[in-house]
């Protein structure tokens, strides 16, 4: 019994750790795409953020400076994306791919040039990172079966950026559905002409959306390199930006279902790490390879049948041209 409880708690804690970057990146995509700007460049912005965070934390010794640098670096790329797609009406997918390519090459080259460690940054120590927060009463409650551990290791014990991601979901939902900005944001993604007719600037609205995307991607990147990890490694995002995009589609471009999508991906990933070499009832030990494809099979199955039709914002992918 105690073993099972331990297993569940450890699985949940791991799920939360793995879901955090996905949630941040998926919400980033939410703002951009709901405003009608397709953003395939989440991956590149995260990677740049991760590098900027690690490099700055190494240089200054402060994780806060690292976080700020990550957001700033990611914002620059977001502005590039906005400049290409909003101001100059370039193809949004092409611009996104370009950003990913630039980020992958530039971070590796800069890391190598500055630190000479073969595309890595030096390992960071505790004071240069966001470490797990120790919640009050953790030790007092440790004795309580299941709940004590749940409180200490899943609810508490995570780093600051995890809580930021948790807060970002209701906040996004509130902004998108309860504020004037949110209403306009959604409108500009569905029918920009109507927004324009109402006398609101379409480019300015979309720029603001893209900037929020940039900031959130920066936080996601910082999480990877100075909170969950301890340093930057070449291409360390390893496709998380695309996975976040998949979660956004799975969640039909809504905050809470998107969160569910992220948690699902993270949980299968966490499960995958734990099922390796464990003898399961009935079937016995399963080869590593089969367990590793589990998340992908699940994704395909879900996309194929269980979530229903996922309809993107109507104006997503189209540059807005004012009628003359």
């Amino acid at each position: 019994m105690d073993d099972t409880a331990l297993w569940i708690v450890s699985l949940l804690a791991s799920t939360v750790r793995l879901a955090t970057p996905l949630v941040l990146a998926a919400l980033a995509g939410f703002y951009s795409e709901r405003a009608g700007v397709v953003d395939i460049g989440l991956e590149g912005k995260m990677l740049t953020g991760a590098f900027a965070a690690a490099a700055t934390a190494t240089a200054t010794g402060s994780p806060w400076a690292g976080l700020a640098a990550a957001i700033a670096a990611s914002l620059v790329l977001a502005l590039v994306h906005g400049f290409a797609c909003i101001t100059h009406r370039g193809d949004q997918v092409v611009a996104g791919v370009a950003i990913n390519t630039i980020a992958a090459g530039l971070t590796a080259v800069l890391a190598n040039a500055w630190f000479d460690l073969g595309g890595r940054t030096p390992s960071l120590d505790g004071t240069q990172r966001f470490l797990g927060l120790h919640f009050p009463l953790t030790d007092a409650l440790r004795g309580v079966p299941l709940l004590g551990r749940l409180y200490g290791e899943v609810v508490g014990g995570q780093n600051l950026l995890v809580y930021l991601a948790v807060l970002a979901v209701p906040l996004t939902s509130w902004v998108a559905y309860r504020t004037r900005f949110g209403l306009r944001l959604r409108a500009v993604g569905e029918n920009p002409a109507a927004v324009d007719t109402a006398g609101i600037s379409v480019p300015w609205l979309r720029y603001r959306a893209v900037l929020i995307t940039g900031a959130l991607c920066g936080v996601a990147g910082a999480y990877l390199s100075i909170a969950q990890g301890a340093g930057f490694q070449e291409n360390m995002t390893a496709g998380k930006g695309y996975l976040a995009l998949a979660a956004l589609i799975l969640g039909k471009w809504r905050p809470y279902p998107t969160l569910a999508g992220c948690l699902l991906f993270a949980a299968t990933d966490a499960l995958q790490a734990r099922l390796q070499g464990v003898a399961l009832p009935v079937v016995g030990a399963v080869p590593v390879q089969i367990i590793e494809v589990l998340p992908y099979i699940l994704t395909v199955l879900l996309l194929a049948g269980f979530v229903g039709k996922s309809i993107p914002p109507k104006a997503a992918g189209q540059a807005y041209v004012k009628d003359r």
């Binding site: 297993w7 450890s10 804690a13 791991s14 791919v97 992958a104 090459g105 490694q233």
Partner: protein, 335 residues
Amino acid sequence: MSRAIRAALAAAALLSCALSAPKADAAFFPGVVFDYGGKYDKSFNEGVLTGIERFRRETGVTYKALEISNDVQREQYLRRLAEHGADIILAVGFSQAPAVAKVAKEFPEIKFTLIDGVVKLPNVQSILFSEQEGSYLVGMLAALSSKTHTVGFVGGMDIPLIRRFACGYEQGVKAVAPDDHVITNMVGTTPAAWSDPTRGGELAKSQFDRGVDVVFAAAGQSGIGVLQAAKDAGKLSIGVDSNQNHLFPGSVLTSMVKRVDVAAYNAIKAAQDGTWQPGVRTLGLKEDGVGWALDENNAKLVTPEMKAELDAASAEIQAGTRKVANYDETNGCKY
């Protein structure tokens, strides 16, 4: 996408080298092709770098080192070095074996030394290590240090070589404490598994949650994530290939060292002296090819009793009175 660009950059860099520096007279010049992970992986590749750097310092001979960033480059780089007239080419890593076999045939005059793999050609020297023997010793140390009677192993790519580490480790653990549990995880099944520290760290954390308090990482750069996770969680870790004790002093219990530096140094030195011999050489405890690292960083973690026990076992293995099963030969981990 990024790989393509970096490959193009590397090719351009190489081309510029080729144009600016044609091979000067008959001066001795060794070349080396590193594998995935790169020469600063703090592990296997870096071991080779240490060896050739030592050679450079002692003899003043410069070498040419190339790092691959995709599979095709192994063959390209080996051939490039051969065309440049390298006297000896060091190919680092088991996955270079097919490329070495192909290029060595094309350049029968040039000496090739393959580390960690076997190619049987008259101009190829293959160096293997008895990883199971070194792993056996660190397995014993893990079992002697574990308070939870559960120890972990995180491997890089799931290949027979890494299984050999895992198998030796398990035998060492069981030799000390037959009832201890060994939890084994692999980072992945593709070469990307050597450079994914996030995943390595996550696997280590999952093992800690299952009661592991000493974890052995044989996973290239991914292993850094394992060592980091152990440091963060206040557990012990065991490094691999190079001596990694200094990475997190007080948290790294020891390192299973593979003296790739010595192997690399000896190969180049022998080529220079003219004593280089083709064929397969296996370096074990007896040849000082593998071992465990004890220095000022982990001195406090290893008691004299532990050291005595390991030394005794090491002597027995060298004398042949204690047998360590080899995963490859026993066709699975049977002992």
